[in-house]
């Protein structure tokens, strides 16, 4: 009985094997097409690998170029600040000269009044005195001169303040450099593990700012006072001068 059972079991297994063989026969074209696909894909993968290699190799150069832009901009800004300082010094010198002239003019005016009293009155002398006094334009132009100097002083200071943009953009460029380096590291790992890495993982590269970094990735050059107002409100909140709602509204 046991032998009969073994035989029927054998036939069952043979039948299974037959099914497998039949299935295998059906699978052969599929496997063949898979092999063909792999043949086509391998050069493509090699191309991708080469392309990633090339891109990765170019990244250090891109980083250097960004660093160069930062240092050249800083150099140019320093030169502008030197010129601005020089203009400011000149304006201050002019201002000092004008004050000296003003003092002398006061003295001159008093002396002239004394001289005028010594001159005998006549229509002729009156004519010359009037003409002489009309030539003295110092006091008529003084307000305009002072206004111009003040405007130059203000404009020069505005240029100085605008140069804050250099510090802010250099921080933004440092953040870009950091991001580029993160991409380079990701690409390098792709080259090594191309066959086992999901290409979409490149999208997951994030700008993780290391602790103690010397840049702020969110640095913004803006004339808006909104950020300072928000900061002030927060500071005031410590002294209970602002409500949490007001603060949240400004920071949202």
């Amino acid at each position: 009985m046991k032998q009969v059972s073994s035989m029927s079991e054998l036939f069952e297994r043979l039948n299974d094997l037959k099914i497998v063989f039949r299935y295998g026969q059906k699978m052969i074209p599929i496997i063949q097409s898979l092999i063909d696909f792999m043949k086509d894909t391998v050069p493509l993968l090699e191309d991708i690998n080469t392309s990633i290699s090339d891109t990765t190799n170019k990244i250090p150069k891109a980083k250097d170029q960004i660093n160069n832009v930062s240092s050249q901009t800083e150099l140019a800004t320093t030169e502008i600040l030197d010129i601005v300082d020089s203009i400011s010094d000149d304006v201050e010198k002019f201002d000092k000269y004008i004050k000296e002239i003003k003092n002398k003019e006061e003295e001159k005016k008093k002396t002239w009044e004394a001289i005028k009293n010594l001159i005998p009155h006549s229509s002729e002398s009156e004519k010359y005195i009037n003409h002489f006094e009309s030539l003295d334009i110092f006091y008529s132009v003084l307000p305009s001169m002072e206004a111009i100097f003040n405007k130059i002083r203000d404009d020069v200071y505005k240029i100085t303040l605008s140069l804050q943009v250099q510090d802010i953009t250099s921080q933004q460029l440092a953040a870009v450099n950091h991001l580029i380096e993160s991409v380079r590291l990701k690409l390098s790992s792709l080259i090594i593990h191309l066959d086992e890495t999901d290409l979409t993982s490149i999208e997951n590269v994030k700008l993780d700012i290391p602790v103690g970094s010397t840049f702020d990735p969110d640095a913004v050059y803006t004339k808006s006072t909104e950020r300072q107002e928000a900061a002030d409100l927060l500071i005031n909140s410590i002294n209970n001068k602002a409500t949490q709602d007001e603060i949240d509204k400004l920071f949202s």
Partner: protein, 124 residues
Amino acid sequence: MNLKFLVVDDSVTMRRIVVNSLKNLSYDNFVEAGDGKEALDKLTADSAINFVITDWNMPNVSGLELVKSIRCDDKLSKLWVLMVTTRGVKEDIIEALNARVNNYIVKPFTPQILKEKIDTIINA
């Protein structure tokens, strides 16, 4: 009031801008440092400094670490500290205030804000 400022920033440009602004406000006594470490050295060496204007993001010792070191040091803890930084998010400002900065300016600053903050600090 005699104020001697220590201007701390790793950007030479920013240091010059802050110093020029202080000159514009008729202050003429200041020293400079390029990072928090240099700032601490200068503070230790010069007891006449009574007002620190510092950036946050700097190499070696950051502005925040500088503030914490100042507040932990018996000889320096009473110094006035104004932070001038690009960092304008709420969490950063709270962190700086927790470290006990006297006031906070978000870059780019205006001369009015700088004057207002200095006056607020020294008159508090």
